[in-house]
Amino acid sequence: MKKKYIVIIALLTLISLPAMAQGATTAAAIPAPTVNPGDTAWMIVATALVMLMTIPGLALFYGGLVRRKNVLNVLMQCFMITAIVSIEWVACGYSLAFGSSSGSLAPYIGGFHWAFLHGIHIGDLSPYFISHSQPTGKMVDGVPQLIGTIPHLVFMLFQMMFAVITPALIVGAFAERIKFKGFVIFSLLWALVVYNPVAHWVWSADGWLYKLGALDFAGGTVVHINAGIAALVMALMLGKRRDYQRHAIPPHNIPFVAIGAALLWFGWFGFNAGSGLAADGLAGSAFLATHIATAAAAFTWAMLDWIIGKKPTIVGIATGAVAGLVAITPASGFVDVTGALIIGVVVSLVCFVMVAYVKPKLGYDDTLDAFGVHGIGGIIGALFTGLLATPAIQAAYSGAFYGNPHQFLIQLLAVSSTIVYSGVVTFILFNIVDKLVGLRATDKEEAIGMDEAMHGETAYTTFD
């Protein structure tokens, strides 16, 4: 009986289809823009994946690398940044980064019109889109206006997670020796006056680097170079840890490092494959490029360890994987598998030299190599995007190896302007916060460990 009914319903539907289609075409030439459920579902998942990168991914990665007396401090820093930057983002960060302002400031910073998400409604579609868009039905300057396919709120949330992880990356440079109060104020100010403008330059429709055509698919300049340079400045300004280069400071929990790196690798699929803001072929391609570059970088680092250090290490392969993830970030939506392989191998070679030879030689104490991996890896990635971007992925974009050498110069400009801005403003912020509340932990605090000194907690208690 049931089957019969289904057949009848199917037949009725078939008969009525042409009539329905006719009705639609006569009713309106352009349908009203709607939310695309597929894109939206993927972007909500991608947002959660990017959140996973900071806590627990980065928190465990960094937490395992420090000494046992400092692990809670690092976890706490990651949690605290997640909390305060999320609030900062809805308060004004999103508006400053992705909003628009008038006059001569427009290319450099957004305004406050979206402060506290004022004017962003639940039904609004994202004004930002990459590969999926739809006409709104309005004309702007004689061309049909386009709009994205996901809710504006989802776009805002996705970007929030990027704003969260960026200052969290800097933690790697000053771990084991910073006062917690100073850290909180510094991180908040940094998110406000360094992250927001740079995100605006590169990703906002009004941004000056965006208009120049700088390519940064998922945050090589905005996230990694930005944080990496700030990390170098912080490491130099704070000075070395008391024990640095006096005796060995090996990681206290290498399984944490491995779990953290694996969670970063996993979450990064949201970071990169989500940056196309759609569930489509570009997302798949970015996923592929991300995975292959990371595999190549992890393998390369392990080989370097094996040849130079005699044995392949877990800390080594985990570091290589993170370096690969960093470098492919700006390129993931522009390069093919060959490009991804090249980026993966090159970034591990360069970062290995940086952390194994250059850092000890120069003597600065970048505790967990935030500069050596994120700064240098980000620069490699941004520059190689200018070389390896292929029109086979996104037809509109090609790099120097595909007949567009100009792109490399634009990338160079984007990289150097980010380095200068992040470096200078981080330097100023350090001095302000240091004068205000102090940043460097005392010798005594450092000796007993940040966990006990800053939080009154110990990670590995002796109680049953």
């Binding site: 060995a248 090996p250 370097l304 360890d305 005699k310 290995f352 194994a356």
Partner: protein, 119 residues
């Protein structure tokens, strides 16, 4: 009554445990110890080589009746030996008094189970 304290390689712990069982020593305490010595161990972290002279070993602590001293020491010595530097050390000292908490027995009687011994 004698107390035997032995520092042995962690890798030899299972062998020593077996040898002690065979010698009739059924209970003892042990713990992880870290010491400093001349031999160094190399650890490579992100391409940087750290030389560390921290040495990880197990320490065993056994209290025996005088009559069992020699066979216990021999059991440890034979089982823990590899012939290479760093095999460890054995220390023997006198024990003044022993009490078994459950029964209140004192002296050598507190160190063994009479019924088991008679079998």
């Amino acid at each position: 009554m004698k107390k035997i304290e032995a520092i042995i390689r962690k890798s030899k712990f299972e062998d020593v445990k077996e040898a002690l069982y065979e010698a009739g020593i059924e209970w003892f305490s042990y713990w992880d110890i870290t010491g400093l010595g001349k031999s160094t161990e190399e650890q490579v972290v992100r391409g940087q080589i750290f030389q560390s002279n921290y040495i990880q070993r197990h320490m065993l602590s056994i209290v025996v009746r005088d009559q069992n001293l020699e066979k216990t020491v021999n059991a440890i010595m034979n089982a823990a030996r590899t012939g290479e530097m760093g095999d460890g050390k054995i220390f023997v000292s006198d024990v003044e008094a022993t009490y078994r908490i459950r029964t209140g027995e004192t002296g050598p009687e507190a160190l063994y189970n009479k019924e088991n011994e008679e079998k």
